[in-house]
């Protein structure tokens, strides 16, 4: 289980709130956790991927109310530089307790920022809830646009939901599933930086969640840190989240581990390839990991 990181508990979970579930990607865990944390004062603001100027182009935003939070529901398969607002949240917004959601690389950036706050004055102790989402790879907006408009032949403004699962990239419109393409086709549009990533389930988050491993409408949730455990248990107790045991759930942790192993071993190989050890004439590319 080394690729799944350390965790105190793992659950099959979904939101206890119908409103959230109606527009959720899967179990609505991130929205529910932040809504509960905002309502109870665990956090006083959350940095989330809000709607941008173009359809399905995420733009990081700081939600200080549940209404603002709701505007950011659902997955946008493109890069939202949430860390860019981390100092803004503490300085301009004056927040003392920040929640942030991010992909595994972004959660790594959060932890590096807390331990090496080179340019993040007064930020480290203000991040109280870092929620990580499972991530295989991400797409620059232009890449996503091409996938939807060219490959799926769908106007991006008509799209009501996008989803990646069961080896397919699916685009939904008002009429239901409009178009599906095999994930293989999307690979060339992936962000290059994703190919050196060695984390699939946000091992350094307080809580990490994603659809893989649990049936439709549910999410797999890893509760990792003491802060994450406290917040999650309270949210369950208050009814914001419904959590059940992962025992016997199909496809279960086996699939999560399989995908994590796939991603990480593939990327480790790529990192080795970048070292150009087999090519005397090529200089190595830079390896960020020490």
């Amino acid at each position: 289980m080394e690729y799944l990181g350390q965790y105190k508990a793992v659950y099959k979970a979904k939101s206890g709130c119908e409103d959230i579930l109606a527009k959720a990607q899967d179990g609505g865990i991130v929205t529910s956790m932040f809504a509960y944390a905002l309502e109870t004062g665990i956090i006083d603001g959350a940095i989330v991927a809000g709607p941008g100027s173009e359809p399905y182009k995420p733009e990081p935003m700081i939600a200080t109310t549940v209404e603002e939070l709701f505007a950011s529901r659902g997955t946008k398969y493109s890069v939202s530089p949430n860390l860019a607002l981390i100092k803004e949240a503490t300085r301009s917004y004056g927040l003392d307790k920040i929640g942030i959601v991010g992909t595994p690389c972004q959660i790594q950036a959060v932890r590096k920022g807390q331990l090496y706050p080179v340019g993040l004055r007064d930020v480290p102790d203000k991040i109280v809830l870092a929620l990580g989402i499972f991530c295989m790879e991400n797409f620059p907006y232009q890449g996503l646009f091409q996938m939807v408009e060219d490959h799926c032949a769908t106007k991006i403004e008509n799209v009501t939901k996008m989803d990646i699962g069961k080896g397919k990239f699916s685009v939904y419109t008002e009429r239901g599933v409009n178009s599906q393409i095999p994930l293989k086709v999307t690979h060339k549009y992936e962000q290059p930086g994703c190919h050196v990533c060695l984390d699939y389930v946000a091992n350094m988050a307080d809580i990490s969640t994603g659809s893989v491993g649990t049936p439709d409408g549910w999410s797999t949730v890893f509760v990792r840190s003491a802060a994450g455990e406290a917040a999650f248990n309270k949210a369950v107790e208050a009814g914001w989240i419904i959590a059940e045991s992962m025992d016997g759930v199909k496809p279960g942790l086996e699939l999560v581990e399989k995908l994590a192993t796939e991603k990480i071993t593939k990327n480790q190989k790529y990192l080795e390839h970048r070292a150009h050890k087999d090519h005397a004439a090529l200089k190595p590319l830079r390896n960020p990991y020490i």
Binding site: K57, P60, S78, V79, S80, P81, N82, L83, A84, L85, I86, K87, E88, G102, T103, C105, Q106, Q108, A109, R111, K112, G113, Q114, L115, Y116, P117, V118, G119, L120, R121, D122, V123, P124, D125, N138, P140, Y141, Q142, Q191, P192, G193, C194, H195, V196, C197, L198, N203, M204, S225, A226, L285, R286, P288, Y289, I290
Partner: protein, 303 residues
């Protein structure tokens, strides 16, 4: 580094301060608070706790004192550090010592004016007297705004050549950014303490923590927002997290379509963006332990 040296250092020009101390009532003025730090390293407490402390000095080259202010912005945390872990043996603003003494860690702020003989002597003296030299802040690491100096300013118009300290002496650790953050300076001070005085486990942690900052020092004395392009994006490493944009003190970095866009005319060359980037360096060993390290720092910083 014996107690004797420290006492000697304290004796130089200390009379005025100790006299003042006797007169002074415990007041609320900040000026009084500074004077009160003195007793921490004089007689009564000298016996035991001091023996385990490291000695730290702040060497002021051509900088704006912002780095020192940042160190002081640890507020009561600074008092905890001075109380338990480090003696401030040299600091023109906070300690009455005129010549650079022997010390464990020298925090050097500012770049070196090579047209100024005194500065050239002092940077050499710093290297000779300090076991670990830390370049504190953008100017000492990379030149920062002093890179743009072209002389002609009163009252020393002939001062026009400024170099990051690493161009003149060997530097062990970098703390980039303008200004470096109080928390980053605190972490380096604590890790230096663990490195020099801790048990084996603590030494290993401190080494792991400081290694990336030592690598930065070894990597050179040039920094620019362009590093995000040349060292991260060009190398196919950018994950679009936005850390660089948050770290930039002059808002020269914005995120456009998930990638940093650098307004190069605004960049002051402080090195914060690149050092903050999770793809400049990332240690799973250190960052994977964020919870225990954060708890450790909170624990040791208790007054």
């Amino acid at each position: 580094m014996g107690l004797l040296d420290k006492l000697k250092g304290l004796l130089f020009g200390n009379e005025a301060v100790s006299e003042g101390k006797q007169d002074a009532k415990p007041g609320a003025k900040p000026a009084d608070a500074k004077v009160e730090q003195k007793p921490i390293i004089t007689k009564p407490k000298e016996e035991k706790p001091v023996a385990d402390k490291i000695t730290v000095g702040h060497v002021h080259m051509s900088g704006c004192t912002g780095c020192l202010v940042s160190l002081a912005d640890n507020y009561e945390g600074l008092l905890t550090i001075l109380d338990k872990y480090a003696d401030l043996v040299y600091c023109l603003t906070l300690a009455d010592v005129r010549h650079i003494p022997k010390m464990d860690v020298a925090l050097v702020e500012g770049s070196v004016c090579i047209n100024d003989e005194c500065s050239m002597e002092e940077i050499l003296e710093t290297r000779e007297n300090a076991a670990i030299v830390v370049a504190l802040g953008g100017c000492a690491c990379y030149g920062n705004t002093t890179r743009f100096c072209r002389g002609g300013q009163q009252n020393q118009p002939q001062h026009e050549g400024y170099l990051p300290i690493g161009d003149l002496i060997k530097v062990d650790v970098y703390i980039p950014a303008c200004a470096p953050t109080p928390q980053q300076i605190r972490n380096v001070c604590l890790m230096a303490y663990l490195l020099l005085k801790g048990n084996d486990e603590q030494k290993a942690l401190a080494t792991a923590y400081l290694t990336p900052l030592m690598n930065l020092a070894a990597a050179g004395t040039e920094a620019c927002g362009c590093d995000l392009m040349t060292e991260v994006i060009n190398q196919g490493l950018c994950c679009g997290c936005g850390s660089c944009a948050a770290a930039c003190p002059v808002r020269a970095v914005t995120m456009q379509y998930g990638k940093p866009q650098i307004e190069r005319d605004l960049c002051i060359k402080c090195g914060a963006c690149y050092a903050q980037c999770p793809r400049s360096f990332f240690s799973f060993d250190v960052c994977g332990q964020y919870e225990s390290i954060t708890n450790l720092i909170a624990e040791v910083m208790k007054p």
